[in-house]
């Protein structure tokens, strides 16, 4: 059984963002090597544009061909799941709650232009917008934690 330390997984992810910026050319914007708001957005919008002739926004690296990070992650995670026989379908109790959470994360994430992985890359790259977003994220986490505690007490 392959086990990977969280620090290693995080380190590789961060290093890849730097490699993508410096050597692969996944830009503009800067520090765009990995983002789980913008990359799914680009893949989704690029596909919709090709299928229906629309003109939804995609970032510069995805104009001709989309960035395929999302497909890669799904393949890589599926390989790990199959290798370790961990696939087990579990139906959630409140599917609508999860649907709404995903919906809201996408809307607010696109407003910010960063996901919580990308924002670390933005911070390390010295982005003021990432710093603002990160500070707001910490407020958001605090509010959510207080909400969870309040809900448990009720």
């Amino acid at each position: 059984m392959v086990k990977v330390d969280k620090l290693t997984a995080g380190f590789f992810t961060g290093l890849w963002a730097a490699i993508a910026q410096a050597w692969v050319g996944v830009l503009p914007p800067s520090a765009f090597g990995i983002c789980f708001i913008s990359h799914p957005n680009d893949l989704f919008n690029w596909t919709i544009n090709k299928l229906f002739g629309t003109s939804f926004y995609v970032h510069d690296p995805s104009i001709d061909l989309p960035v395929l990070t999302v497909i890669g992650v799904l393949i890589g995670a599926s390989l790990a799941t199959i290798q370790h026989k961990e696939f087990k379908f579990k139906m959630p109790r409140n599917p609508l709650d999860h649907y709404i959470n995903g919906f809201m994360v996408a809307v607010f994430g696109l407003l910010l232009g960063y996901c919580s992985v990308h924002i670390i890359m933005g911070l390390m790259y010295g982005s003021i917008i990432a710093l603002t977003g990160f500070a707001a994220m910490m407020v958001g986490v605090t509010l959510a934690v207080r909400y969870i505690k309040w809900r448990v007490r009720r």
Binding site: K3, D5, K6, L7, T8, G10, F11, T13, G14, L15, W16, A17, A18, A20, Q21, W23, V24, V26, S30, F36, P40, F44, N45, Y57, L65, G72, V73, L74, G76, A77, L79, F87, F89, K90, P92, H98, N101, G102, V105, A106, L110, L111, L112, C115, S116, G122, G126, S127, I128, T132, G133, A136, M137, V139, G140, V141, L143, A144, V145, I148
Partner: protein, 150 residues
């Protein structure tokens, strides 16, 4: 160049997907667990990402012309001097984090969990991609109006 970008992101995505599945990593649970229980286990992912990115950027920026704007705060970052842009970023960051904590994971973790048959993550992703469509149909217009007004 675009084929290179697509293939490189595909390969990197495969490695990242594998690593994140095996390590059960998440980029939002670290903050949640720290604020809720003072538990730092998931913070290891965030610390690893910060270290990897910082070391990579510091190593590569001298040798790559593609990093001529590093560090960004010294190079007139687009939008960084615009208060409305920063307000939108703040609203986005707050909402993103609030709903990510309620969803019990960041979008990357949800994509990874969906491959294990986690129904929660599958419904999350259905909402996530509907949210992208809704953003470009409705919210982007409101955001653009907000930026024009100020």
């Amino acid at each position: 160049m675009t084929l290179t970008v697509s293939l490189a992101t595909l390969v990197a995505g495969i490695v990242i997907g594998y690593l994140w599945q095996r390590s059960r990593s998440c980029s939002i649970s670290g903050y949640r667990d720290f604020f809720l229980f003072r538990d730092t286990l998931f913070m290891r992912t965030i610390i690893g990402m910060a270290l990897g990115a910082l070391i990579g950027y510091l190593l590569f920026y001298r040798f790559s012309s593609l990093m001529s704007d590093f560090p960004l705060y010294l190079h007139n970052e687009p939008g960084a001097n615009s208060i409305p842009t920063l307000i939108l970023a703040a609203i986005g960051g707050l909402g993103y984090a609030f709903f990510s904590v309620l969803a019990e994971g960041c979008p990357l973790r949800q994509h990874v969990n969906a491959t294990t048959g986690n129904g929660m993550s599958i419904f999350y992703l259905l909402g996530f991609y509907s949210g992208i469509l809704f953003f470009w149909l409705v919210v982007s217009e409101i955001a653009a109006l907000f930026l024009r007004l100020f």
